[in-house]
Symmetry: C2
Subunit: 144 residues, 2 copies
DNA sequence: GCGATATCCAGAAAAATTCCTGTTCTTTTC
DNA sequence: GAAAAGAACAGGAATTTTTCTGGATATCGC
């Protein structure tokens, strides 16, 4: 992980489909050298994976929110996990230290769908005793 | 945006570097047809951009946290924005409805760096009157 | 010093992409 | 309902990229 690797990662963060030959021109290395570096970054798990960032608004998910969840007892975690992993509108779920046990980041079409998610999905899980929802007005920064 | 486009997006989410020829085999279309569809998805901004998901732990950022920030008056927003955009450890910054004005998602090496970020960077911004930091213990889901 | 490992480059073969053309299918319009 | 216009697709050629070799150079540990 030298400074050239960092340059390569920076370029790939901006454009994950940038070709090795284009990268090679920017970092002043040969094409095989760049390909080999990328391969090793993947192998060493520094690069988790290549992906595509979609525009949520274009996909009808105009509403972004954070939902904090208090789970009564650890015995309910498995059921909770299953529900969360299946819910497409839940982008992230973090186990937290503090007053609440879980923090969810969710993307939905609007408040109707948010209401359904909270009432019909999250609060239906046994052990969920309290939630606290915070609505996002706008996002000034959003990387990975 | 038909079901084939959705298939293509799903494939690209799992592997952003999947070649058009590989995709064409999976969705039973010709290579030019797939390329054209991807081009249009980019043009219509459904695809924001291609990128790479890095492994934060491998990069020495073992600590993930959310910081909620209360900003006294809107006149301090510009200064706040500048500081946030420059801070590499701040992954996300959302303007919120509710008790706090901003929600930050930050990734750092540890509590020392977190302390510096809060005390020396965020709280130094004029107008920041209150913060509330929540530490992530583990993440069971994290997409985009 | 000396071997072992790693990194690099150059060139060739394989693969993928792009571009072009012709065809089919859908949609529009009369 | 039929003809025209437009969009989407498949096939093939030219270009670019990737991958795979072989060999040179540098680095590290002994």
């Amino acid at each position: 992980m030298d400074h050239i690797d960092q340059e390569i990662l920076q370029l790939l963060k901006n454009n994950g489909r940038m070709t090795s030959s284009e990268i090679s021109r920017q970092v002043h290395l040969s094409v095989p050298a760049v390909s080999e570096r990328i391969r090793k970054l993947e192998e060493s798990a520094v690069i988790d994976r290549f992906t595509v960032k979609l525009n949520r608004e274009q996909l009808g998910q105009q509403l972004l929110a954070f939902i904090m969840v208090q789970l009564e007892k650890p015995e309910h975690v498995e059921e909770f996990r299953k529900v969360i992993l299946q819910a497409d509108s839940v982008l992230e779920c973090h186990h937290m230290a503090g007053a609440y046990d879980y923090m969810l980041k969710v993307a939905l079409s609007g408040t109707k769908e948010l209401e359904r998610l909270i009432s019909d999905t999250i609060k239906q899980v046994p052990g969920v005793v309290k939630t606290n929802t915070m609505i996002v007005l706008s996002s000034m920064k959003e990387e990975m």
